[in-house]
Symmetry: C3
Subunit: 159 residues, 3 copies
């Protein structure tokens, strides 16, 4: 099957399942644990990414910045109360090496507002570098390529 | 990997795939076969569940009640003709013991009406206790936590 | 687990993940490689299929016709610029024999237009015959059963 990091493919599936579930449960401490000690987290419109434009919507180039960001989102969420729901497609290994793996997975995020109405928030593609730390798969570089770039309340939640 | 009930992870994935597919195919006899001899089936708005409120939208506390309910839905569907389509994310094992397993999976349900238009019906999270009966995985307690609570035609189909 | 063609279930999951991903990436050459030497590709409204009506929206009865069709779509896409995003549920083996396997998977397709707005395009069910060619799983007969039959720009992309 897949050599390199991905000895256990179910562990990869579980990593993505946990990623979406922990955002949806607002369990951001456990969510941060899915990232490697040294990590990045970027949200970039797909269009910009394909044109090589660096402009991103969220740009966390270290774990400290990501933790800081999550703290800010928690504050923001007090004023934009909603429920997220992630649907993530089957992860697809697009490159594998001895030390890291490039994995893609499509996603859709839905939000439910306080009136109980659910809407599609946006769709996109995760394009992530994954490493093994002490035998546990972690996101080292999480790249969220967002199809949707005309969203009203973009930054109130991680994607 | 996972001890306990889930010796075969693919069997778990198949259980969830069959669950959605059989509703979408209106094959409710086969769908009922996915439940254990002794089982429950509840649909509860996520908001109520998180606040500890017992009020549910559907409350089947035994297999007999569930079978009765399904019979009623078949009648109701004659007057609300539509096609369901379930998209279910990767199931995530959140607890496993020798005799039962707690598994969560996010879902989105779409409905297509007689004019051929497809709309999002709602999203949510399955939070299920799964047991093994004669070596086959079955739902013992199916809990459908529904993000959407402002839906017009809620009870015309199982979720 | 599953006998017959599907010795490796992950290979089946990967086939479906690649199917959606390669359309979304507009990599139609690699997408065509997912089909067997001798193959068919049909898009049929679910309603017609269930009534035994042969009328399909896309009808490619050979690999040559499919390749021709893809060439035409590439031209059409120049005038209907958009991004596709496929979300495909867990594939479900509904029949398996020594030489071919019948597999179903639900899907939702989203499209993002040039203004950056993402909408549900449609949902449906893949119902595919899969074969092994030189040890690699391929689609021999791809049947796209489309729930949605009232879509405006149906033929600008494969589903």
């Amino acid at each position: 099957m897949t050599p390199g990091v991905l000895g256990d493919r179910f562990a990869l599936y579980d990593l993505f399942a946990a990623y979406g579930a922990l955002i949806d449960a607002s369990d951001f401490d456990a969510w941060l644990d899915l990232f490697a000690e040294s990590c990045t987290y970027h949200i970039v419109p797909l269009e910009n990414y394909e044109r090589g434009l660096p402009a991103g919507l969220v740009f966390c180039d270290s774990r400290a910045v990501l933790e800081d960001r999550i703290g800010a989102l928690r504050e923001a969420n007090k004023y934009n109360i909603h429920t997220d729901r992630h649907l993530i497609g089957l992860p697809r290994v697009v490159g594998d090496a001895a030390k890291e793996t490039l994995v893609e997975a499509p996603f859709a995020v839905y939000q439910t507002d306080q009136e109980g109405e659910t809407r599609l928030f946006g769709t996109g593609l995760y394009r992530d570098r994954i490493v093994s730390e002490a035998g546990i798969l972690k996101f080292r570089d999480k790249l969220v390529l967002l199809d949707t770039f005309a969203v009203p309340s973009l930054l109130s939640t991680p994607l």
